[in-house]
């Protein structure tokens, strides 16, 4: 693939391999989703799934140690305590799932036309697994250890976050969120390539990540508000932008940025190693990259915290103040 024209190359098809790959990859993914969904609803004690009805049972973080708690009125706190998570109804969840499926299907059709079924499937399954593993690892790490990637500044760390609503689950991440990552990553990188046709892969990946981050600056404060609470953040991050921990925005950027690189290297790997080996290596490197992105948050938070301490900041920053 030419580095400055991501949209022009259609990968030839190796029907026999593509069929086998689709059978194994989609089959495995469906099995993991079915098993995770079963665990989430029927064996919630295995992964300590927090109750959507009784918020007093929450641990790591408790209801009082969530970011949203400090921004709620007393009436809102009382309502959540008595009624649980708002909007946790079957029609609402069903709508989310169907919407995610529909939008993901639109992007997949576009990818299939421009890159062929193998590349399109690698993008769909790759981004799904890449982000699903990343989010689930982060969620479960916080839930079981009560810690995060950082040491708090003027307040203790009480874990990370979790999703409250979802129909089908991939480990502890809703399938609608994983599909959301797919269509956002695909569209953002495609749009960056269209808007800046002659720029390098580095530029396109960075702009793609920034477009997604720009949209998330509004989406996150909205969907984590007391009226929706689609996901819940623990307190402890030393910078909160619009009530959302900075690690969230760093994560949004990094996931799309890193995935764009891996996927665009895929045709080169196919040329070098053949389709089967390129596919294996793509998924192995994907998991490796997941670990790197997770681990990256530790030095990132350490450096950011050190800068704040050197600047004389002794308590977490809220940007803007009072939000």
């Amino acid at each position: 693939m030419k580095e400055n024209s991501p949209a022009t190359v259609f990968m030839s098809s190796d029907k026999e391999f593509d069929k086998k790959f689709a059978f194994v990859a989609y089959g495995l993914l469906i099995l993991i989703i079915l098993f995770s969904t079963y665990l989430h609803y029927y064996q919630p004690q295995v992964l300590n799934v927090p109750s959507n009805v009784d918020v007093s049972t929450w641990k790591n973080p408790s209801f009082e140690h969530t970011c949203i708690y400090g921004r709620m009125t007393e009436a809102e706190k009382a309502k959540i305590r008595s009624e649980g998570i708002p909007g946790n109804t079957i029609p609402e969840i069903l709508f989310m799932e169907i919407f995610a499926l529909f939008v993901a299907w639109l992007c997949f059709s576009h990818a299939r036309k421009h890159y062929g079924i193998w590349m399109a499937s690698c993008f769909l399954i790759g981004s799904f697994v890449f982000t699903g593993l990343q989010e689930s690892a982060w969620i479960l790490f916080g839930r079981f250890t009560g810690r995060s990637a950082m040491q708090g500044l003027g307040e203790a760390v009480y874990g990370t976050y979790w999703f409250t609503k979802g129909g089908l689950w991939f480990i502890e991440t809703p399938v609608s969120v994983c599909l959301g990552w797919f269509y956002l990553a695909y569209s953002c990188v495609w749009i960056a390539g269209k808007a800046f046709t002659k720029k390098s892969l580095l530029w396109r990946a960075a702009v793609g990540g920034l477009i997604a981050m720009g949209l998330d600056l509004w989406t996150d404060p909205v969907v984590t508000s007391p009226e929706l609470m689609s996901w819940v953040w623990a307190t402890g991050d030393f910078i909160r932008v619009l009530g959302i921990p900075q690690t969230n925005f760093v994560g949004w950027f990094l996931l799309i940025f890193c995935f764009a690189f891996l996927w665009e290297w895929l045709p080169g790997w196919e040329e070098k190693w053949g389709r089967a080996k390129a596919t294996n290596n793509f998924f192995l490197i994907l998991v490796g990259m997941d670990i790197v992105v997770l681990v990256f948050q530790v030095p990132w938070c350490f450096i950011l915290r050190s800068i704040l301490v050197l600047a004389g900041v002794d308590h977490g920053l809220l940007i803007p103040q009072g939000w």
């Binding site: 639109l106 269509y183 600056l217």
Partner: protein
């Protein structure tokens, strides 16, 4: 113009996805948020991203005018 876009609708799917995500995921959801003055106006923060998406969509349309239909 509309028939040209409809004929080549697949080329516009990534843009449609982003507009749908923005409209339903953020805008409509923000209207459901009470007691948070300024949450709808906060949407202005997405202007740079929306501008880029629109620029890319217009470029795609112009390319279609030059190269002809792609779905025939």
């Amino acid at each position: 113009m509309l028939s040209k876009i409809w004929k080549n609708r697949l080329e516009f799917y990534p843009f449609l996805c982003m507009y749908l995500f923005w409209f339903l995921g953020s805008f409509v959801s923000s209207l459901r948020v009470e007691n948070r003055p300024g949450i709808v106006a906060l949407g202005l923060i997405t202007i740079p991203s929306l501008t880029l998406i629109t620029i890319a969509a217009v470029k795609t349309y112009k390319e279609l005018l030059l190269t002809g239909d792609t779905n025939e």
